[in-house]
Symmetry: C2
Subunit: 387 residues, 2 copies
């Protein structure tokens, strides 16, 4: 493996103004093929991540010239060099977001806090040493392109509470080079897929195991960025958990058994703490081993406005959760992420013992209700951005 | 993110015998285009990883049917679904190996310990939860296919000591699914590129810095497997090191400052230890945060046969190296990997202080000489496999 020529490459990065992503120059080529839409499953039968809608967004970036003209084109395979560094060195990052049809007016399409996804995408690109010139795209312009993509495929958004169009912005290095080096070419593409509610009827609480020798992320690693290498390697632990009858893995860190994430979601505990105060707790971002989830951030902000209990981003260990459960102070626990919104937790296995948790609790349900109301435009809220 | 349906998927994995990779069924489609070969740089001008030879190997794997017919085809772009999980979740792993022309007889082509690369590729696939049925390909059959690929592109192997054809077997998930799940389809492909000596004239020792807040790998992570996610994230530290005038990063682990790897190579120290014995030391594999390098393993075996000093795979901390240097007991240090073979180290920055090391030392040079003699067939050795 060669990593020596990075210095030379760094110096070659241009500092002049490069072409930017501009929604005004967006070219749209509409699909003439209705066959994919005609065979779209009934909305009740949709499975997450399988059915892809008719169009995709693409924008190429090249060192020296910047971003090429952004395009919306019919969904199609990518042509990628077998030497592209996205296929060898994990030079890939992505986002997960959703577009919704307002419940009161299906013509009114909405996004949820898209600026948060744009900021995180840039931060993930930076973590992967994608050149500054590519990272510094204008987030508002890319959001405007996403809005157009959603408009073009609006018939693919199923109507109804819990239904949405899942949006997957992705950045991959297309640089043909078998050395490990900052990429000189990238492809930013966005695919979308119609999705149904995570829970078909009511909540279906998940059972977790914290008993795994595998570790999702580490300080100084990439746990705080949404990069490909964080995901594939977790399956070995998930599969083993599944064999033992658990739905997902609760990822701990260190001898202190700090709680970090669950599966691919952030995690919250609602408990009465040692001081007798009710507290909603989630793991802090400072260690860099936790994804700064948009749903996570929204729950913290939302619950803080209620002013009914403490809301904390702080270290919480499995020992604290165990003790709280033993003393009857653990009230609720739930995962939080774009796909499921909130995911009630009914059990955590730790050191071979199942800690049972009442699910679905009132706070979990209330957070779900308030987020859904915002996302589907049942209430007016600045987080919901009309398209 | 959805990781719930893994259990159902696991149960669906077939246990019946699937089609295997078979070199007897290998189909070869030769390129009719000589233009790429005609514009191949002079061997002295070759840069690592840029010039790709005329042909590539491909074999698809699908759940339920197994491996499709293996093919050697003209080098070409891949067609990949934008939803392929190799582009989102780091479901990609690779190998690095080389084919050599014997110095005495350029018609006699050689590989170096290919069975080691095949075993490691399988182990990387397993770490990424690629299904058992795909992982269990016959390593001898894939090696036979690699030999044929090398034969077909033998004119691309530059002749001379230090010259070779770098071979990059790669496995990517082609499964079109935005959930995190064991892939139901894979592509195994192999590209090759002619490469020159890492050092154009004599050794050019490298200067390292151990002062980085970033971590390459950790126990319970993927540091022991050759997966994409190990590489891209290291550049942020390499780039910062380069800006400060160092060639590569020495990756440490934990408060003990265990020495793990350098850049993307294993690392060796030759020192007089506290007991007054000469010792060649490299980091152990047990923690799972170090790549089991083929060159690393070969050096351990080779130096052990000399019987002239202790050869140890053991924990060695930066503090021990610092102390040995201070007491005049640190004799040599070098990196080891397929690309450079050995890479002498002349300096390690630690806690802001440069530890200078005599380079290139006698042991480093002797290991280079003996490995090169084996790889290029100057001596007969079982590690060198004739094609």
């Amino acid at each position: 493996m060669i990593v020596r020529n990075i210095r030379a490459r760094c110096l070659r990065w241009p500092t002049v103004q490069q072409r930017q992503i501009s929604s005004a120059s967006l070219k749209v080529e509409r699909s003439k093929d209705n066959s994919r839409f005609d065979t779209m499953p009934k909305k009740e039968d949709l499975q997450f991540g399988i059915t892809l809608s008719d169009h995709m967004f693409t924008a190429e970036w090249n060192l020296g010239t910047g971003w090429e003209i952004p395009r919306i084109v019919p969904y199609q395979d990518l042509k990628i060099s077998p030497a592209a560094s996205s296929l060898h060195y994990g030079l890939q990052c992505f986002e997960g977001m959703k577009a919704y049809k307002s419940l009161q007016d299906p013509e009114c399409l909405r996004l949820f806090r898209p600026e948060k996804n744009m900021a995180r995408l840039r931060s993930s690109m930076e973590r992967l040493s994608m050149p500054d010139d590519s990272v510094n795209f204008d987030p508002n312009e890319l959001t405007a392109c996403i809005k157009e993509l959603v408009r073009v495929d609006s018939r693919w958004i199923p109507y109804g509470e819990g239904y949405s169009l899942y949006i997957r912005p992705t950045v991959i290095a297309t640089h043909k080079f078998l050395g490990v080096a900052p990429p000189t070419s990238l492809l930013l593409y966005i695919i979308t897929c119609p999705v149904g509610p995570y829970y078909k009827k009511g909540f279906d609480p998940i059972r977790l195991t914290a008993d795994t020798p595998f570790i999702r992320a580490w300080p100084g690693g990439t746990g705080g960025a949404k990069v490909g290498g964080n995901y594939g390697p977790t399956m070995i632990a998930s599969n083993e958990a599944a064999k033992r009858g658990y739905d997902q893995v609760l990822w701990l860190f260190g001898e202190e058994k700090y709680i970090t994430e669950v599966g691919a979601m952030n995690i919250f505990f609602f408990l009465k703490n040692k001081n007798g105060r009710n507290e909603l707790v989630t793991a802090p971002l400072e260690r860099g081993d936790i994804l700064p989830g948009v749903t996570r951030g929204s729950i913290i902000e939302l619950a803080s406005t209620w002013g009914e209990f403490d809301v904390s981003e702080r270290n919480i260990t499995m020992f604290e959760v165990q003790e709280a459960a033993k003393e009857g102070r653990l009230i609720e626990a739930f995962g939080a992420g774009t796909a499921a919104v909130v995911s009630p937790i009914s059990c955590i296995q730790f050191n071979g013992v199942d800690i049972e948790i009442q699910a679905t609790g009132k706070i979990t349900k209330r957070i779900w209700d308030e987020l859904i109301a915002i996302q589907y435009g049942k209430v007016d809220h600045e987080w919901s951005v009309k398209i």
